[in-house]
């Protein structure tokens, strides 16, 4: 390849990795850019895997590709797939790959993502138990949705809820089993979670909250989740969607600080000035909530990739983008602006035509807006949270309050 000197080596080949390579080249970075990923695939978009990709046979891998295959060579990006960085020697800025070769770097960027959390359940290794992370997992799940009649899902987070809604839309009987008293407890207000759960329940999905799976029992072609107390939920397959664990082991082995993710500063840099971490694997200080957070979202991955590309091309700025998320659950389009972590008060406002908004406050300061089927609200929320001022609880409580009007009048 063209560049002679070691440049940026990106560990991982997900969206954060792909976006970083793109941004570096667009910013005129002229040293080598290398991506090393362990899947035998070019970088691809994962969000559709739990949504439209499962709904029908129309979506092929081509529709998921982050960039056309020729893009990488055309932009002098060295894409190494079906291999992995297994060791980092920071003292001499060198990595060892699983295939045995070594590479040197000037800057190393961990974009290793996360993997599905496994549960220490007897029977969880049965072939009737599925997870969803890769396109191969999604193909397998789609085949089960084609053939199956009953789905049991362990985990009522975003992924579990999205797949429950898809399975129900495809006519399956669906049961969601969740340890917590409600769905999406980690990332969503109780009010919005209740609105969505009620909607999905009316579509025919069964929810079992505050139950503990004890064991998974598989027999010929069928499978059952045995709950504490002995009750058994039978299904044709079980989907395990119990959250994720950041892939931080290689970083930890190289002596970098790891605490629920690779620890980085506001410039997304580790304690080693030649090493950064971005995306699902990185835990970073979040100015708006005054704590370190690790986020699992496309927006976080791509915005952090942009921030690191800017830093590496001489324009470092602290990372402080407003976080946003979306989730499609049946005919509900949930959109979230800001983080509700630390929220103490929620004002919920059901709107006309099945719309819904929830405003989450911490110490009377608006920190997050969750909306359902209400894109105008979401768009306004992002402007307000990014550029303030923010409406008070009294203003939001007013019957005539419209965030859209507020944003129009107050945000430049």
């Amino acid at each position: 390849m063209g560049a002679a000197r070691p440049g940026v080596l990106i560990v991982g080949a997900g969206i954060a990795a792909g976006q970083l390579a793109v941004e570096l080249r667009q910013a005129g970075y002229s040293e080598s850019v290398t991506i090393v990923g362990d899947e035998p695939r070019f970088p691809y978009n994962r969000p559709p895997l739990s949504k439209e990709y499962l709904l029908g046979p129309g979506e092929g891998f081509d529709q998921l590709q982050f960039r056309a295959p020729a893009f990488y060579a055309d932009n002098d990006i060295d894409l190494i797939i079906d291999d992995a960085v297994v060791q980092v020697h920071r003292a001499d800025r060198r990595v060892t790959l699983a295939s045995g070769s070594t590479r040197t770097y000037d800057t190393l960027v961990f974009a290793t993502g996360a993997r599905n959390r496994q549960l220490p359940l007897a029977g969880a290794d049965s072939e009737r138990v599925l997870g969803l992370r890769t396109v191969d997992d999604a193909d397998r799940l789609r085949a089960e949705l084609d053939a199956g009649r009953r789905a049991a899902i362990i985990g009522g987070g975003f992924i579990g809820m999205e797949i429950a809604a898809v399975a129900r839309a495809r006519g399956l009987d669906v049961t969601v089993v969740e340890l917590a008293p409600r769905a999406m407890a980690r990332a969503l207000s109780a009010e919005t979670a209740a609105f969505i759960t009620d909607h999905l329940r009316r579509s025919g999905i069964t929810f079992r909250f505050e139950v503990v799976p004890q064991e998974i029992v598989a027999d010929a072609g069928a499978v059952g989740i045995v709950l504490s107390g002995g009750e058994r939920i039978d299904a044709d397959f079980v989907l395990l969607a119990a959250g994720v664990v950041p892939n931080a082991e290689i970083a930890a082995q190289s002596g970098l600080a790891v605490a629920n993710g690779i620890v980085v500063d506001e410039f997304l840099r580790t304690e080693d000035p030649h090493v950064y971490a971005i995306g699902d694997c990185a835990i970073f200080p979040h100015a708006d909530i005054g704590a370190r957070v690790r986020l699992e979202s496309v927006q976080n991955a791509t915005d952090q990739a942009r921030a690191v590309a800017a830093a590496l091309t001489g324009r470092p700025v602290p990372f402080e983008k407003v976080a946003w998320f979306w989730s499609h659950q049946g005919d509900l389009n949930l959109q979230i602006a800001g983080l509700s972590t630390g929220g103490d008060t929620t004002i919920a406002k059901p709107g006309p035509d099945g719309r819904f908004s929830a405003y989450v406050f911490a110490s009377e300061r608006l920190i997050s807006v969750e909306s359902v089927n209400f894109t105008a609200e979401h768009a306004a929320a992002r402007r307000v949270l990014a550029d303030g001022p923010r409406p008070t609880m009294t203003e939001v409580n007013d019957d005539g309050f419209s965030l859209r009007d507020y944003a129009r009048s107050r945000v430049a």
Binding site: Q26, N45, P47, P48, D62, Q63, Q65, F66, R67, A68, A70, F71, D74, N75, V298, Q299, T302, D303, R306, W324, W326, H328, Q335, T375, A376, H378, A379, A380, R382, R383, R404
Partner: protein, 107 residues
């Protein structure tokens, strides 16, 4: 299989031969056209695939929906009456020659 044209803010033209049934955003992104980001993957969740449709193609490109118009207000470069989110334009034979101008920035 329409051929569509993207004109950068600096005046450079990138032409892409797209399959039918693909959004204008996907056609740009998968072919590496600079100046279209498409961060949310076509979910009308961001405004990073903003384009200005050349007036002679306004009819064939169609109008922005209400939600799309709202999201366009979050675009980095000011939207005007030519503005669309390119993820919401599904390409077909009728789009042969469609030409859009890209904003100076998307993020």
């Amino acid at each position: 299989m329409p051929r569509v044209n993207f004109v950068s803010a600096g005046g450079d033209v990138s032409s892409v031969d797209s399959a039918d049934g693909v959004s204008l955003m996907r056609a740009a992104v998968t072919n590496g056209v600079r100046g279209i980001v498409g961060e949310c993957g076509g979910n009308m969740m961001c405004a990073t695939c903003h384009v200005y449709v050349e007036p002679e193609f306004a009819a064939v490109a169609g109008l922005a929906s209400e939600d799309e118009a709202e999201m366009l207000e979050d675009a980095v470069c000011p939207p005007d009456e030519r503005s669309r989110l390119s993820c919401q334009i599904m390409l077909g034979p009728e789009h042969e020659g469609l030409t859009v101008v890209l904003p100076e920035a998307q993020v």
